[in-house]
Point group: C2
Chain length 344, copies 2
């Protein structure tokens, strides 16, 4: 029993027992993502993962990311089960562009007072998406920082490790003039442009989180929390067959900020903006915010979450494979000499 007036960790705002209970509740969820390579249980200091033996010259591909201010939409909507999925799918896509398939994932949640239901929803979303992507949730950290994060708020970062055969790394070196760009549809804003989107929706348009988002028949919460798409299922077959020469994940910076990174230093692209219909959400944001077209293209994915670079002779077979899945795909342009992205 602490002396009267004595300080302890709980009175300072940190409840180690509650943290342990939350961990306990997540164990079975996390266990469902494990496979034969996973050697450790939750609660160890570090997670253990045996390097798969079926890769001759394994190169690990690793990335870290957050979902940015999309978490603030989750706070407003009091819906915490989707941002974890966003985080995992975003990270899966980030390493997919180098040809890697995911092995394992770790999450970091920084929060104020830990609310068991919130943390469980967030990490539950992470575990769900890990399972969907065949990726072990190997560990994580929930840091309770009551004076730093506001009550009910949290930030969320993810770390992924995947593997690729050394001679299968996508590094732009196989991309050439005349290669075809295949656009793969996004499911909405994914995880980028939320600072601007929120300003337009909640300030310029004056909408509340539960209002209907114009021309959608859905709420603002529904539209803004659409889950970032993982392109692993859509692209696995083409990648396994060696028919993908490059991939660009369209995140912050949009197409002009991301496509050039996969084309190498001497090449550019020409993209026909008439080959797809920009989804309503972007049109509404552009009109309501009075945002210039080039700014829209730099901040948002505009309906294109991933671009695959494919040799002309492989386009038909890649498109046929893609047509069997549920991800929209279309030929949107081609690689040309000279740097930069041109629009037609």
């Amino acid at each position: 029993m602490p002396k009267s007036g004595a300080l302890d960790y709980r009175s300072a705002g940190v409840d180690l027992d509650a943290a342990e209970r939350t961990m306990e509740g997540l164990k079975s969820l996390v266990a469902s993502t494990r496979d034969e390579h996973t050697l450790s249980a939750l609660g160890h200091f570090g997670g253990l993962y045996a390097v798969p033996g079926d890769v001759a010259s394994p190169v690990l591909v690793s990335s870290t990311d957050s979902v940015g201010t999309k978490v603030m939409v989750a706070f407003q909507a009091r819906r915490h089960d989707t941002v974890g999925q966003d985080l995992v799918n975003h990270c899966v896509d980030d390493i997919l562009v180098q040809g890697a398939r995911p092995l394992f994932f770790l999450d970091y949640v920084g929060c104020g007072a830990m609310e068991e239901s919130v943390v469980t929803a967030v990490v539950g979303g992470v575990a769900t998406a890990c399972k969907e992507n065949g990726c072990a949730l190997l560990g994580g950290e929930t840091a309770e920082m009551p004076e730093f994060y506001a009550k009910g708020e949290y930030d969320l970062a993810g770390f992924i490790v995947g593997v690729v055969e050394r001679d299968r790394i996508l590094d732009g070196s196989r991309v050439g003039v005349g290669d075809v760009l295949i656009g793969l549809g996004s499911t909405g804003l994914h995880t980028n442009g939320y600072t601007l989107a929120r300003k337009i929706v909640f300030e310029s348009m004056g909408l509340a989180i539960d209002d209907e988002f114009p021309e959608s028949g859905r709420s603002v919460a529904d539209v803004l929390l659409d889950v970032h798409r993982s392109y692993l299922p859509a692209l696995s077959e083409a990648l396994d067959a060696g028919r993908v020469r490059g991939l660009a994940h369209i995140t912050g910076g949009g197409i002009p900020g991301n496509l050039p990174r996969t084309l190498g230093s001497e090449l550019g692209a020409v993209i026909d903006l008439n080959t797809w219909e920009v989804p309503d959400v972007f049109r509404v944001l552009r009109e309501a915010g009075g945002v210039e077209r080039d700014e829209m293209l730099r901040v948002f994915n505009m309906g294109v979450g991933m671009i695959a670079v494919v040799a002309p002779e492989d386009v038909d077979s890649v498109m046929e494979g893609l047509s069997r899945g549920d991800c929209p795909a279309w030929v949107m342009g081609e690689v040309e000499a000279g740097k930069g992205v041109r629009w037609t």
Copy 2:
């Protein structure tokens, strides 16, 4: 030129060009941590790391952590070059307890408006510690969230991947009754207990960040920002020689919360509290906060940052090896039958 009244990303608080400039300034710093296994440059989507060929049956060990509210001391002190070192060393120690040596590290910085000098100092600290630990800084993410983080504030999470030979994993299975516990000195609070420590120092004691910390001859900032020690240099030799049966990194939960995790399910420990002098910083905090001894032992490391479990016949050689380094080490107790930690 945006139309008058039109919204763009910069007016919404995010400056993509400034972010790019900060990245550019960090390139050489980060490059200094790379080695022959590092296949990617900064700016790729994911970092590439070839699995070392000198490990027969490689198991990856991965962990994520933050430095908790120690960042708030850094804000007050306007000193941002040490928390990155804390983060790396903490993570190195977390995987060391399973016998792993670090391969690579990624950092996540969530912040308000990105201040180039602050981000550079933080990531500079990360890179410095990576270099000291022979660990590549493979990538990172700096997320600018101006409405979420206050100006000048940031959270910091780290992610480490190391490797261990499968038959060298430290999992507690080699620990037996009568094994000796060797304590390794901490350099201060390391990264745990800051919520309570800050409450005591800034509220109960009423000190300011630049005041002298009692009985130290140093400022509050200096004492509270002492860098978390990496035990990799001290323990490498004993680990390579197979003379370590278990390791416990003393973090949140203190000795009673961390030592049992390395002892397996049937064993406990008896520790002689008279074998070391608890550093002044803990004594001052205890007295000023009126904190119970057991609470102190549960929240703080009390001068013991790592505990090594060693067979009785190996104690002399391990202690001799440790005496050549600069990390204090002493025999503090032993493993006994029955669960729990007893103090004598």
